[in-house]
Symmetry: C2
Amino acid sequence: MAPHHDANDRTAKDMLAARERTAMDVVAVRDFLYNGRVQWEKKQAVLDILSNDPTFNKEQNLYMTRTQRYERGLRMIHRVLQFKDEHGWNAEEEAKAFFYLEEGLPIGLHQTAFEPVVNSQGSPELLAKYGKLIANRGIFGCYLQTELGHGSGVARLETTATYIPATQEFEIHSPTLTSSKWWIGALGKTATHGVVQAKLIMPDGKDMGPHLFFVQLRSLNDHKLLPGIVAGDIGPKAMGGYGSVDNGFARFDHVRIPREQMLSKFAQITPDGKYTKPPHAKISYGGMMYIRQSLVTAGGWLMGKAATISIRYATVRRQGEYGKDGMEPQAITHPSLFSRLLPIIAHAYVFIEVGRNLTVAFQAVSKRLAAGDTSQLAEMHAITSGLKALVTRTQVLDLETARRSMGGHGYSGYAGLGRLYAEYVPSVTYEGDNFVLDLQVARSALKSYKGIRSSKNPTPSLLSPSSNYLRHIFDPHATPPELTDAAWSDPETLVAILEWRAALLVQDLATNVAQPDANVHHRVSVAVAEAFMGAQVAGFIRDSKLSGESGKAVNNLYMLYLLTTIEASLADTLSFGILRPSRNGRDATRGLRLAILKLYEELLPNAIGLTDAFGFSDWELDSALGVYDGKVYEALWNKAQTEPLNAQEVTDAYTKSIRPILERGQALAAKAKM
Amino acid sequence: MAPHHDANDRTAKDMLAARERTAMDVVAVRDFLYNGRVQWEKKQAVLDILSNDPTFNKEQNLYMTRTQRYERGLRMIHRVLQFKDEHGWNAEEEAKAFFYLEEGLPIGLHQTAFEPVVNSQGSPELLAKYGKLIANRGIFGCYLQTELGHGSGVARLETTATYIPATQEFEIHSPTLTSSKWWIGALGKTATHGVVQAKLIMPDGKDMGPHLFFVQLRSLNDHKLLPGIVAGDIGPKAMGGYGSVDNGFARFDHVRIPREQMLSKFAQITPDGKYTKPPHAKISYGGMMYIRQSLVTAGGWLMGKAATISIRYATVRRQGEYGKDGMEPQAITHPSLFSRLLPIIAHAYVFIEVGRNLTVAFQAVSKRLAAGDTSQLAEMHAITSGLKALVTRTQVLDLETARRSMGGHGYSGYAGLGRLYAEYVPSVTYEGDNFVLDLQVARSALKSYKGIRSSKNPTPSLLSPSSNYLRHIFDPHATPPELTDAAWSDPETLVAILEWRAALLVQDLATNVAQPDANVHHRVSVAVAEAFMGAQVAGFIRDSKLSGESGKAVNNLYMLYLLTTIEASLADTLSFGILRPSRNGRDATRGLRLAILKLYEELLPNAIGLTDAFGFSDWELDSALGVYDGKVYEALWNKAQTEPLNAQEVTDAYTKSIRPILERGQALAAKAKM
C-alpha cells in the first residue's frame, strides 16, 4: 500500500528538487533572454512599483463585469502615467510598464497606431498643433480603419472624405450601414480624436482611394460626441477577451474638418483641389509592419508564460502507477506531456531572439523609408507578413496546448491560460488575417522564383534573406541531402530540409499556377516562413552567445525547434521525396522521432531552469498552477475561497428555484408511491 | 468605379439566391439527420415552448455576472420541469429540452452520472427509498469523483470510507488537502445529495480500492451543509465557460453514513464487515461509457452549429477584387475559406450518424451487462474511448476553425462561437483526458495485434469491429492498394488506406515496444479511431438512405470526410509507403488534393442547403453572424446597441480617469511648448 502523504507538502519539495537538479546557469540565461542584465534590472524596477500598487492588484480580475473592467483599465492607465511623472520614466519605460500589465487597454492603439501614424504622416503644421498633446496624452487617440463591412481590404472601405474647395474642408461621411467604423480600440467611450481611413473624393467626384484624416470625435470640455458623429461600444468580445478595451463603432454624417487635417506628408491636396501623389504606393505600410514585427518578440514572451505555468504544474503534479519510492511519477516524466510542453519553451526562446533581430532590421528600414528610400520595403513586408502569421498561429496553439496539458485544472479560471487565450486568439485575424497574409507570402515567393527562372545567370546575390532558400534549386539537377541517422544532429542539414521543402513547394506552385489546389498557398506560406526561421536558428547555434551547460541547454532548444518543425512538416518533406519512405512497411520517420526523444530527455533536467530564466513573477503570471514555490493545491484552494458565490452558505437561488424544484419532486415522488 | 450599394441589403439577397441555387431536397435531408420526420416535429414542439418563454431569452447572456448566470440556470431548470408537468413531457422530452438550451446546467450531472449510477449500482433497498425522489428531482444529486490531487486515475483517489462494524456505518473522510473533492458539477451550491468515490477501508485497515457511497450533503429543511462537511464553488472556469454550473469542492470530516448507503449491487459489505467482490472488475465502466458514447452525436450537432453559422456568414460576406458585376466575390468562393468550412459539415453529418449507431450498440451492451454478461465490455470500452477522443478533439478544432474563418467579426461575442468554444473546450480533458485515452486505445490495439500474431491460423472472425483493420496484415506479404488517380473516388480504397495506416502503425509500435518514441501512442490512437470511422462511413455510402441530388450531396460529404481524413494523415501514409512520393521533385499528394478540390466545387452550391438541413433556429444558434435571413450587419448593429456601456453617452470613467489623464497631458504639452 502506498504511504500516506499530503501532495500539498510534496509539491514544494518537488519544485525545490527540480531547481536543485538544474545544471545550467539560470541567471546567465535570463540575462541572455533579456538582452543584458541592465534590461532585467530595469524591468524589476518597474515591476516592483506596479505589483505593489492596489490599482494593479489582480485578485478581483475574474469577478468583474465588463464595465468594471473598462473603468479599471482607465484607472490603470492614469496610474501608470502618474508613476511616469513620479519616477521620471521615459517613453520606453512607460511602454514597458503597459506591456508588463498583460492587459489590453484603451491606450494600446494610441501607442501603436494613432501616435506613430500621425508622427510619420502628419504635416509639419498638424504636428506643431497636436504633436505634444499626443505625446503627453493630452488628447486620446484611436485609429479608425476597419468598417462593419470590410476589414483586411483597405481599398474597399466605404467611408468618404470629399474635398470642398470653397471652404477648404473635407467632409467625412458614412454613406451606408456597412461603412460604419467598427472594432476601433478606444473609440467606444474613450478617444477624443482619431485618424480616419476614408476614400478621398475629389471635387469632380473622382475616387482617389483610401487616405488618412485627423478628426476630433469628442468635446474636450465634457467628452460628449461632436455634432454629426454617432459612436459607441461594439459589445463584448468572445470568451471575455479584451474586456478592458472599448472597441467601438462610429458613423459620420457629413462631418467637416479643415484641409490641414488630412495626413499629408506624402499625398496632398492643394487649396484649389489638386492632388499630389505619394512617392511610393506602399509608403503607408510602415505602420502595419511596425505592429507586425512587434508581435514576434511579444509572442515569444507569451509562449514563455505558457511554458512556465504548464511546466511548473507538470513538475509538481503526480500521476500514474506508484514507483519504488511509493509515489506516483511526476506528470512531466510522461512522454505524452513533455513532448507537448518542451517545444513551447523552444518556440519562446526562438521567437524572442528572432523578434529582437527583426526589430533592429525594421528600424534600419524605417530610417531609409523616412529618407524616401523604399528599396527594402517589399522585403521587410514579406518577412513581417510571414512571421506575423507564423508567430500568432504558434502562440495560440501553444497557449491551448499548455492549458490542455494541465488536464481538468487547466480549465479553471485560476490557471490563468484561459484568460491569455481569450486575449490573444484574435491575433490570428487582426493586423492582417493570417489566411490573407498566406496569399501575400505565396505571391511574393512566386515572384522571387520567377525572377530566378527568368534570369540568365542566377547567382545567390539575386536573393534577399527571405528568399535565400531558393538557392537550392538554381541548379535543376541538385538534389536534397542524404538523410542518414547523423543528419538529425546537424543543424545545417535540418535547415537544408526546411529550405528544400519551401523551394520545391514554390516550384510546384509555379508549375500548377493555373490550377492550384485549395490549400497550397497556406502550405507555401508556412514553408517559406519556417525556412527563414530555420536559417535564423542555425545562425544562433553557430554564433552561440552562451557557454557550458547553459549554452548546451539553449542549443538543445534550438535543435528541438528545428527537429519539431520538420516533424510538423513531414507530409511535405515525404511527398517531395526529401525524406524517403521505407520499403519494408516500417516507419521512415522513426530516426527523426528518436532524435527528438533524445533531445527531450537531455532537456528535461533543465526544464524548470529554462522556464525560470524567463524571470516571470507570480504577479505577472497570475496563475494558481504556475506559482514559483510549486504549492499549486494550496493556491487553488485559497483562490476558490474568494469566489463571490461562496460569500453566502445558502445561495439566494435556494428560495427562488432550488426549494420549489425539490418540493415539486418530493410531492411527485410521494404521489408515485401511493 | 464600383457601384454604390449597401451591403446590408445585399446580404439578404445573397442568402435568398444561395437557397434558390440549392439542388438537394433540404427537408428530406433534414428528416434523415433527425432520424425521421416525427423526431423533427417533436423537437419543434419543444423548441416552440422554450424559445417563447422569457426565462430562456438569451439577450442578456453576455452581460451577466457569474452569480446571475448561476441563478438564471436554476430558474431555467425549474421552468423546464414546470413545462414538463404542463405539457406532459416524458423523460426523453425533458432531456431533449435541456439539450436544446445549449447551456451547461447544474442538473447535467444529476442526469448523466448521479441518476444512472444510483439506478445501476444501488441496492434494492436504496432504490426503494430514493429512486422516486431522484427520478423526480425531489433530491438534487451530484457525482463526487475527481479530487484536487487526482483526476483520471481513480485508483489514486485519497478520500476514505472506513467501515465501522460496531454501528454498521461507513465513515467518509478527507485525510489531506488534495483529497478534497473538486470540479464536482452542482456540488458548489445546489446539490442535496451525492455519490462519493472513496477508497473502501476494511475494519482491519485493508484498502479495497475505490467504491461508491451515497451521501446526503445538505439539509432538506434549510439547504445548509450537514455537520462535518465543508463545500463551496471552485470559482470561475476559463473563458467564462460553464458559468451557470456551480462546480464545487467538498471536504468530509469523519462523516458517518449507514451501511445501506454503499452502492452495493455488485460489491458488498456484510454487517459484520465481510467483503463480496464484484463479478467483473470493470463492471462500473458502464457509466463512463454511457457518457462517452453520448458525446459522439452531441459533437456532431455542435459541429453542425459551427458549420451553419460560419457558412451563412461566408455566404453573405463579400471580400476581394471587384468582379464583372461590380461586386466583390462572396467569401465562401475563396478556396482558403471553403477548404476550411466544408469539412466541418462533413464531420457533423458523419458524427451524428456514427453516434446514433453507437448509441444503439451501447444499449445492447448495457442490456447484456445488466444480465451479468461482460463479453462485449472491452470492445465497447475500446470503441467509446477512441471515438470520445476523436470527436472532442475534432469539435474543439472545428469551433475555432469556424470562428477564425469569420475574420475580425468572429471575435465578437455576438458571433456566438466563442461562447461555444469556452463551453466545449474542456471536453478534451473531461470524461477521460484524451491523452490518457490515447494510451488505452494504443494498448488495446497492441493486444489485438498480439492476439493475431500469436494465433496459429488467424481468420477475420478473430477480429472485433474495432480491430477489423488488422485483417490487412494477416498475410505478411500483403501490400497496400495501388493508388492510381481513380483511387481517390473509390470509398473502399480510401478506407483501405486508413486501415493500412492503422495496421502498419500498430505493427511498428509492437516492434518498437521497448523504445517507443514520444508521440507514437497518440498517432496510433488517432489512426485506429479513424480506420474505424472510415469503415463506418464507407458503409453509409454503400447503404445510402437518400436518393437523387440529396443522396449525391450527402455522399459527397462522406467522400470528403474520407479524403480529408487521409489528407490529415499524410505524414503516416507517406512514411509507411502507402502513398509513394514522386521521384521527380513534384508533389505526390497533388492527385489527392485535386480530388478534394473537385468535391469542394461540387459541394459548394449545396453548402447553404446542407447547413439549413441541420434545422437550427436563430434562437438556438444565438449568433448575429448566423442569422437565417442573412442580415448579419443589421444584427451586429442591433446587438451592439444593447451593450451596457452604451447606456450612457459619457462614461463614468470620464470624470474618474479620462479627464485627469487629459488634463495632465494638456498641462505637460503646454509646458513643453513654453
